[in-house]
């Protein structure tokens, strides 16, 4: 059974259709890169999978682990193992990172029928996870993402991912705004978190991140559809030639089926 099957997905923001019949299948153990020009619908896909209510699904289906993903509330999706690393992580002044992480961790444990952990047990767990993304423990006492640099915010996303141990990770433009050192730390974190039963969707505009997180499949998303799929070499080709050779002249009506 495939971990994720997206069929003819249509979604809009307000009155504007963004996804227009998108197909994608993701198997456990694989890394998929979704690339495409600005405004092609990459972020919309990521947000729709995570359940952002600002996006309205108007057609198609998404099956995750055999279940109807679109019927689930965002928190249930997270509890079931979906994780979206935000392109713009949200600042929440007044809530400490430690409190937030433990609340999320415990909610997910609760959903799995496991015992909640107390602050002391959680502190032990955090020590290990912080090392993972080369973060200082002082970051835990600060308010969530508040006053964090761009790199710190992205590392904080990967820290959350490390704590929550998702089955399907969606990285939305995680490389944007990162210098090369931060990019390496973030990519290392993602790579170390890979498991045979988990999958990763890397949404990105540039090929740069894919030097560090090597995809098994690369898909080109444009005009709200996957127009072309291939192996990791496709990313290099896109880097060299740009997106035009894929998107121009594409018959938007006939979606190129994609997937593993």
């Amino acid at each position: 059974m495939s971990l994720l099957v997206i069929k003819d997905l249509e979604a809009r923001v307000g009155e504007k259709p963004i996804l227009k019949g998108l197909n994608l299948t993701v198997e456990a153990g694989s890394v998929h890169a979704v690339m495409g020009p600005n405004g092609s619908g990459k972020s919309t896909l990521a947000q729709v999978l995570a359940g952002n209510p600002a996006y309205e699904v108007t057609g198609g289906s998404v099956t995750y682990d055999g279940q109807d993903l679109l019927a689930m509330e965002p928190e249930v999706r997270a509890q079931q193992g979906i994780f979206l690393a935000f392109q713009y992580p949200v600042e929440i002044p007044g809530v400490s990172n430690a409190y937030f992480l433990r609340a999320a961790y415990n909610e997910i444990r609760k959903a799995r029928g496991e015992d909640e952990v107390d602050p002391l047990e959680f502190a032990d767990l955090m020590e290990e996870k912080l090392a993972f993304v080369e973060m200082d423990s002082a970051m835990l006492s600060r308010s969530v993402n508040t006053g964090f640099s761009g790199g710190e915010k992205k590392r904080n996303e990967i820290l959350q991912m490390a704590v929550l141990q998702p089955k399907l990770s969606i990285l939305d433009e995680t490389d944007s705004g990162l210098d090369i050192d931060a990019l390496r730390i973030v990519a290392d974190g993602v790579n170390k978190l890979k498991r045979p039963d988990s999958a990763t969707i890397v949404v990105t505009h540039y090929q740069r991140l894919l030097n560090y997180i090597v995809p098994d499949f690369v898909h080109v998303l444009a005009h709200g559809q996957i127009l072309k799929s291939g192996g990791k070499d496709l990313a290099l080709e896109l880097e060299e030639k740009g997106y035009d050779w894929v998107t121009s002249g594409a018959d938007v009506g006939a979606a190129a089926g994609a997937g593993a």
Binding site: A78, V95, E107
Partner: protein, 430 residues
């Protein structure tokens, strides 16, 4: 005489017949006459524009004259912050020594009940009513006419009171349909320092009226942290006025927490009447159901080189209604005044309503005075972010509500009070 006073004439006559010094009798008589002339304020009065006190005016409250006798010590535990505090307890408006734990106060500190002050400390008693005028304040006039008890605290020069003094006003079920008029006096001497907590709490769901007045006099260099916890019963009415007079280099810090009562009005007024003064007036109002809470602050900058800081936050749920009116007057001589006022409101439901009215009147030309007010809802992006991490809708809203209030709670210097309020804030909107 207005009709407002008629229901209270008999109680007033009985009270004045029951004894007291001639000085007190005169104070009462003048105040009752003034109340009779003023009546209860209406919404035509600019200071009461958003708050109708008709539910109070329509009642005929009984003057409570004795404590209940039925309150047990254990019942007070939820309202005490820390065992180290000096606690003076009043039940249904009257001092209850057996429920108090005043402990040992430093030399130079007087803490007595108002009822005995008239005879035991006349030099303090004669200061009652000096700071707060009632010519245009119906409720203060009513309080002055009917005041029976409260705390009288005097701190001599240079004395630092380490542990906070907690004035705990409790009502129980026998207060139903009753009214109490607590009257407190706090006199902080030169370079003296103290922290005072005034709590108004209920042990029952009775309907009653608390109409409190606290006068605070601060000498040169005095420092006072003054906390007011309004946690009255859900159907109760609360009107409270704190009036402060600050001399040179004194620093007054107020934190007012409003969570109780069906209808409440809380006034905090201070006059910075010496150079180098600072006033910080902060507060948090958390309402639900049909609650209505009106906060009015007034800061009078009467001398140069003083600062004032104000941060009031409201969290309003259900069909509750909040009102904030922040007045700042800067006299012509009060140059170099530095004032900042902020009022922020979080509306948790469609039916909640906020009226906010900054009111700055500045007559000096070299001052820095700013004000800002915002009214908003829970941020949908932040809500989604939390939910996307597995946090349930309920907990996510709770966290974001808490986060909204966090910065004003962080200003509370007393750890025990801050932690208690943080807990109450987190648990209020579950």
């Amino acid at each position: 005489m207005s009709s407002a006073a008629e229901p209270y004439v008999a109680a007033f006559d009985a009270l004045t017949d029951s004894g007291g010094t001639p000085q007190l009798a005169e104070l009462r008589r003048a105040a009752f006459e003034r109340f009779a002339a003023l009546g209860f304020p209406t919404t035509k009065n600019e200071d009461w524009h958003f708050t109708s006190v008709a539910p109070i005016a329509e009642q005929e409250f009984t003057l409570l004259t004795a404590p209940s006798g039925a309150v047990r010590h254990e019942a007070l535990a939820p309202f005490l912050f820390d065992a180290s505090h000096h606690v003076m307890t009043f039940v249904n408006g009257r001092f209850e020594p057996t429920l108090s734990n005043i402990g040992t106060l430093p030399d130079g500190v007087t803490l007595i009940d108002l009822a005995s002050t008239w005879t035991s400390a006349p030099e303090l008693a004669e200061r009652i009513g000096r700071l707060t005028g009632y010519q245009n304040a119906s409720f203060t006039a009513l309080n002055t006419a009917f005041m029976q008890d409260g705390a009288v605290l005097a701190i001599a020069a240079d004395v630092v009171v380490d542990a906070p003094i907690h004035l705990l006003f409790v009502t129980d079920a026998t207060a139903a349909k009753g009214m109490i008029h607590p009257r407190n006096l706090i006199v902080v001497g030169r370079n003296a320092k103290a922290a005072v907590i005034e709590s108004y709490v209920a042990l029952s769901d009775a309907m009653y009226l608390t109409n409190a007045v606290t006068e605070v006099s601060m000498a040169d260099g005095a420092t006072l942290q003054h906390y007011k916890m309004q946690r009255e019963a859900a159907r109760a009415f609360h009107v409270g006025t704190i009036e402060v007079a600050q001399a040179r280099d004194s620093h007054y810090v107020s934190f007012a927490f409003t969570m109780g009562a069906l209808l409440s009005r809380s006034n905090v007024y201070t006059t910075l009447d010496g150079e180098g003064c600072g006033a910080t007036l902060n507060g948090l109002v958390m309402l639900g159901d049909e609650q209505h809470a009106d906060v009015q602050t007034q800061i009078i900058h009467a001398q140069p080189n003083c600062y004032s800081r104000e941060l009031y936050k409201n969290v309003l749920d259900n069909r509750s209604h909040g009102v904030f009116n922040g007045k700042v007057y800067v006299h012509p001589i009060a140059q170099k005044t530095d004032g900042k006022q902020t009022n922020k409101t979080l509306l948790l439901s469609e039916g909640a309503h906020m009226d906010t009215k900054p009111q700055l009147e500045i007559f000096a030309d070299d001052v820095k005075c700013t004000h800002g007010a915002t009214i908003g809802q829970i941020d949908a992006t932040a809500l989604f972010y939390l939910k996307s991490r597995g946090v349930s809708e309920g907990l996510a809203r709770q966290l974001l509500t808490y986060a909204f209030a966090a910065d004003v709670l962080e200003t509370i210097e007393l750890d025990a009070v801050r932690e208690s309020l943080e807990r109450m804030t987190l648990e209020r909107f579950v």
